[in-house]
């Protein structure tokens, strides 16, 4: 815990510097109207994170296409300008890590960055090699959070990650799953390991994690990252055929993306959601969901009922 406190103090300094830098470099007149950025504490350290992060699955896998890489860098810039911190990737996502590194190089690696990646290799012995390669691709001195991707060889990789954390080469450790897979085993690992984060799929229609994983994360003091908040865009495409309910204005939602994101991040166990996009307008729209009031329990039930009726 001594390490965690030390890191927390350092990260707090980073955060303050970053917030100041963002405010100075990218003043946003709209911020005052929208209210402050909604943040949540990481349970294991108290460090605050904005409730909306940035995923990179599919969207940042653009290979060597320079035009597309520049577009991704512009998305990252808009994300940081809006106060975003967590960017999440994986060695599984093709060129996404390299493209993030390209963007960070272009932007000068904003100090606000909360670098989140995964280890995804069946050989436990080759985990450190993969992590080092990922770090090189990102071009960062170290990751803030590393997670075992889809529980692949989790016993071996968790040993590596906890050792890195103990050495001060990593700040947080987590595990991931998606689409509701292996929840029983996932919960067992949560009960048995001192994880900082878990990453799961959760959205207004896929709410299985509400039964077991989210309450367990709260009990065990673990942060929760939510992937696939829009079902890879299918959910927003489906919803956009219908009008937003007029009462969405009560929680300052003017788009379906905001409506769907606010539902997710209003769950008290959720630390942040990580929607992925290649569109600057969409990243701004997503970050807008991290402002203004969040729905209470009654409103959340109303949101579910409305969407399920569509």
């Amino acid at each position: 815990m001594q390490d965690a406190r030390t890191l927390n103090r350092r990260s707090l300094m980073h955060l303050l510097a970053a917030t100041a830098a963002v405010g100075i470099l990218y003043p946003s007149p709209a911020t005052a109207q929208r209210g402050p950025l909604v943040t949540r504490p990481i349970p294991s350290s108290g460090e605050m994170l904005p409730v909306v992060g940035l995923g990179s699955w599919i969207t940042f896998n653009v290979g060597d296409d320079e035009e597309a890489r520049d577009a991704c860098a512009a998305v990252m810039q808009a994300f940081f300008q809006a106060g975003g911190r967590m960017i999440d990737s994986s060695p599984m996502y093709g060129s996404a890590q390299e493209v993030i590194g390209y963007g960070l190089g272009k932007l000068g690696t904003p100090p606000a960055l909360f670098a989140t990646d995964k280890v995804w290799i069946s050989s436990g012995a080759r985990g450190p090699e993969q992590i080092e390669e990922s770090r090189r691709l990102w071009g960062v001195p170290r990751f803030d959070l590393l997670q075992v991707h889809n529980l692949l060889s989790w016993q071996e990789h968790l040993k590596t990650l906890f050792a890195m954390k103990a050495d001060g080469r990593l700040r947080y450790v987590g595990i991931t799953t998606s689409e509701g897979r292996r929840h029983r085993e996932f919960a067992q690992i949560m009960r048995g390991q001192p994880l900082d984060f878990v990453q799961v799929t959760y959205n207004i229609l896929d709410r299985e994690v509400e039964d077991r994983i989210l309450p367990l994360a709260r009990d065990r003091g673990m942060g929760v990252i939510v992937n696939r908040p829009f079902r890879q865009g299918a959910l927003t495409r489906r919803m956009e055929r219908h009008p937003l309910p007029p009462w969405a204005a009560e929680i300052q939602c003017s788009t379906w993306a905001q409506f769907l994101l606010k539902f997710i991040v209003s769950h008290p166990a959720v630390t942040c959601a990580i929607p992925a996009t290649t569109n600057i307008n969409h990243v701004r729209e997503n970050m807008d969901a991290a402002h203004g009031p969040l729905p209470d329990e009654a409103m959340r039930r109303r949101m579910v009922a409305y969407v399920e009726d569509l």
Partner: protein, 216 residues
């Protein structure tokens, strides 16, 4: 991978259709006018199959092997693998097919044509050479994203299936990789909701049906 039944092809699609077709566009621009060389090579195969001579089979196999090798290296390994890590393994499979064509067709001379060719095989080959490249543009994609024989996997594979069906004897050892690619490509395009996702599975189905017809 446990709970494998919960996975769908979309779980393995790591890129967007936009990125995929842009990759093809940039590749086409980078290798131009290589497409014209490939077209001439395709026409040469057509002539050699129709007017069979003593060395026709070896030359056809050599041209096909060159096409497979180029696709393996020039497209799959150096381009497609940048957005799809599985493409490196597919490139290896294409290299194996190159080797098989070289050994069975060029060295051993087992790919022979009696002249005229069998019509299903010739039809598939003509489709790959002239019709398949038009499907993308006719589906609304830009001409710069057209897929041509000898430079892109799909028409190269369909052309190869056509040549193998047009040959005097079925060379079973040369069929496995092309048929597996048809399934891989069909699944990829279907997951991307491409309107032409049916082409490669249909080509594989036609090949298998023709082989079954000959056998029974």
């Amino acid at each position: 991978m446990s709970e494998w039944w919960t996975y769908t092809p979309s779980d393995f699609l790591l890129f967007s259709p936009r990125t995929y077709y842009r990759l093809i566009e940039l590749y086409n621009a980078a290798i131009w006018p290589g497409q014209l060389v490939a077209l001439v090579a395709g026409l040469a195969i057509l002539v050699l199959v129709r007017r069979a001579g003593p060395s026709s089979g070896r030359i056809v196999a050599a041209i096909l092997a060159a096409g497979w090798l180029w696709v393996a290296w020039g497209y799959l390994f150096t381009r497609y693998a940048t957005i799809n890590w599985a493409a490196s393994y597919v490139a290896a499979a294409f290299a194996i097919e190159t080797l098989l064509l070289a050994v069975a067709g060029v060295i051993a001379g087992k790919l022979t044509f009696h002249g005229g060719g069998r019509w299903v095989g010739l039809g598939l080959f003509l489709f790959a050479l002239f019709i398949q490249p038009l499907i993308g543009p006719l589906s609304g994609r830009a001409w710069s994203r057209a897929e041509l024989f000898g430079v892109m996997p799909d028409p190269t594979v369909v052309a190869t299936l056509g040549v193998l069906l047009a040959a005097d004897r079925v060379r079973w050892e040369l069929l496995a990789v092309p048929l597996l690619w048809c399934l891989f490509s069909g699944a990829t395009l279907w997951t991307m909701e491409a309107p032409d996702a049916w082409v490669m599975p249909l080509a594989a189905g036609l090949t298998v049906a023709e082989l079954a017809r000959r056998r029974f």
